[in-house]
């Protein structure tokens, strides 16, 4: 029976960690919706998540759209369905690749930076100092980041969708020899609102996850520079896994028959 003990310990540890995360998320959300709001800090986080992620998100979307057009062309040519390229590219980008790749890229950039910043504040007692200066760290540190993540990711995904489709268009016109008017017609005529909306809902959830994991791991880091380093890594890894898992769950919710 002894071999069950370690399994039990792991399961209990996992449940406890999940519980802590849920409570943390709940606190963060509560402070995000209840006044007072730190507008200046929220604005700064929006800049750092939204504006400064634009170049890397744009490049990712561009190359993804380009390669997508190439591959789908190769695939669809095998049964003479080349005219489907435009439609498949736009659906692939808006439903899946736009939100998921943007989420993963921003997780690498932003969750890591948040965990490093908040983790350093934790180990140098700056978070304790906040408390003694009558400032709630959830309100001051977590809420602005959650709001910024939740609102900026959908905007980034709109940009990624547009640039991704543009990338597919460029490759199709310039190197695959499609007719521009037909390509655009096929892109927009078969696109349904739900394709874009589901992608934006995903983006909001991913933005929340990114900020949540950055803050959570930073808050719970301990043990100096090494602990902050570990928090940074774990923030990116856990945010990425949660993004992929929740992506499946949301897709199921939206499209399962």
């Amino acid at each position: 029976m002894n071999f069950l003990a370690p399994i039990g310990r792991i399961v209990l540890g996992f449940l406890a960690a999940t519980g802590r995360l849920v409570i943390f998320a709940f606190h963060g959300l509560r402070h995000a919706v209840l006044p007072p709001f730190y507008l200046r800090l929220t604005g700064r986080q929006m800049m750092s998540i939204g504006y400064f992620s634009l170049p890397v998100v744009g490049l990712t979307a561009l190359f993804t759209g380009m390669v997508l057009a190439l591959q789908i062309y190769v695939g669809s040519a095998r049964f003479n369905a080349e005219s489907a390229v435009a439609t498949i590219v736009v659906i692939g980008i808006t439903r899946e690749l736009g939100p998921v790749l943007t989420g993963l890229i921003v997780a690498g950039r932003v969750a890591a930076a948040m965990a490093a910043e908040i983790g350093t504040m934790r180990v140098t007692e700056q978070i304790d100092a906040l408390v003694t200066l009558s400032t709630n760290p959830f309100k001051y540190l977590v809420a602005p980041r959650l709001i910024a993540g939740l609102t900026m990711l959908p905007l980034l995904v709109v940009v990624a969708d547009i640039i991704g489709v543009l990338g597919g268009y460029l490759v199709s016109i310039e190197s695959l020899g499609f007719n521009p008017a037909t390509y655009l017609h096929n892109t927009f005529n078969f696109l349904e609102p739900i394709d874009v909306i589901s992608g934006l809902v995903k983006a909001a959830v991913f933005g929340f996850i990114i900020s949540l994991m950055g803050c959570y791991q930073g808050f719970h880091s301990k043990g100096g520079a090494k602990g902050v380093g570990r928090a940074t890594t774990e923030a990116v890894v856990s945010a990425s896994i949660l993004i992929l898992a929740s992506n499946y769950a949301i897709t199921e919710l939206f499209f399962a028959k």
Partner: protein, 258 residues
Amino acid sequence: MSARIKIGLAGVRKSFGPKRVLDGLDLDVREGESLVVIGGSGTGKSVMLKCILGLLRPERGAITVDGEPVLGMGSDDRERTLRKFGMLFQGSALFDSLKVWENVAFGLIQGRGMKRAEAKPIALGKLAEVGLGPEVGELSPAELSGGMQKRVALARAIAADPEIIFFDEPTTGLDPIMSDVINELIVDSVKRLGATTLSITHDMASARKIADRIAMIHKGRIVWIGTAAEIDHSGNPYVDQFIHGRAEGPIKMEVLRP
């Protein structure tokens, strides 16, 4: 002097894993007094302050501030209680994303909702009190020396004129002259503002200067408490060893000798 108890600790116990840091600690801080706690490194002095502030939760015991029990307080009550406090952290704990003057003004702006333009002159005034000019106010904390950071942290602790001020090693890392300036400042805060202060120090000169009473902590308990005048003939072997800085005595430093 009034003998009202401002802060009371009774039987406070705090452990980290198997390690018991505070072990039934009893201590009363009277209103308007300057109490200095001395004791070896790692005996739980900073942990004691953090327990009072609610930054750490003791497993056992009771802590009161103005007669109100603070353990298990709701968040609103706790926030109200914390407004009475100013704290100088041992490691300064300055916010490195903010300028020096914004650090000093933080409690005024964020904690009390004061306008930035109104808080800035107050912050610069507090900086001047710790011997730092207005040009320092525009720097970021990373651009300061350790001793300057400590003085900024001190200015931040006293900026909102709190009723109770904790100083965790206020003079460590300062030159003797600046130490004396800081000692004067602490004495002055007590006299002029009528604040209650609880300070931690290893510096006996500083302790003698600022203390009304001195308490010695060892192995998570208070082993001696008395007035500053009594400390030289306390008859307590722990105190004698500490104030004379002897390696031999009842306090065994955990040093591995070859």
